[in-house]
Symmetry: C2
Subunit: 176 residues, 2 copies
Amino acid sequence: MTGYELTQFFESAAKWVWTAPQSQIYPLLRQMEKNGLIAGEVQLRGEKLKRTSYSLTEEGLAELRRWIAEPQPEPPTRDALLLQVLFADLVEPEECEAVLRNHIAEQRVKIRLWREHEARLLAGDTPLLRERLAHRDPKDHQRIGALKAHVFSELVRAAEQRVAWAEEAIGILHGG
Amino acid sequence: MTGYELTQFFESAAKWVWTAPQSQIYPLLRQMEKNGLIAGEVQLRGEKLKRTSYSLTEEGLAELRRWIAEPQPEPPTRDALLLQVLFADLVEPEECEAVLRNHIAEQRVKIRLWREHEARLLAGDTPLLRERLAHRDPKDHQRIGALKAHVFSELVRAAEQRVAWAEEAIGILHGG
DNA sequence: TACGTCATGTAAGCTGTTACATGATTTC
DNA sequence: GAAATCATGTAACAGCTTACATGACGTA
């Protein structure tokens, strides 16, 4: 991919699992190339406009595989909503309820998007998945698509759990 | 609290909802005092050792209330485990399974700790909760404790959901 | 020719992490 | 007298965010 394509990718489906701001991408690409993880190939669009398309080197693929197979440290927790509910007794119940309802609405929007993406993965219908499957034994296609879809099903279920929890919290707020 | 007490607090129960490294605490306390949110009172322990105990000013309490009642922006998602499973087809199923089992074990440890803390909150049995309740109408005690316990029940349920998901993922890995 | 998209960059500033550093007091 | 705990700091660095900046190409 080029830096531009990566930027768009991180602003679309990918941001649900990992995000990177545009300003990080170009410096990082250069750094990774310097470290031999990726190799850039300069292409021409028109007469003056150059674009550099990067692909993984063998070393980069090996490093990626190492990363995938290695347990990653869990990031420190910083959950603003839980903190707000912990201190809910300092404000009016209605104020806390408004915050929770806002959160519920946000989760519902995400749930809809994730469900759509999950369905597309199960149908083998996203461009990146199709490219990935092209190099793989057809008998593995179902399994690979199912695993990727399973990732999005976790996002959906976690958000649904959160919505249910927030609704219960509203009940407790009002002395339920 | 003093900076030392805050440090310990963030290294114990509080870190489950919010963490702050020790190196941040003393500079932040000075900054917050400068901004009028907290006021420090210097105490003497022995002859030479001074400790500064901070408490919220009225302005600080107002600012805290404002923060609690205001929807906080959701942080960008960066979930290493989901990313590892998304790319699981690049490694052997057993390698991915090991990562998932490691995650399951970590979650189970946390679940146990959170359950204990939840029970203590429901029984009104933590020092901070008792201090908080002391200034409140006894008829609210039950509700306040229940809300705080509900926060920890969300942590527990989210982790349990995650464990169940990881077990399903292992099944899919092996062609289930 | 104007607007949208393609494509790549830089700079300032904030937050957070890791690590190091120091000295007083209490306890065994 | 040694070790644990109390108590407070600092420095270097990594990572991320926000914002700004520039120019080429396609198309209506």
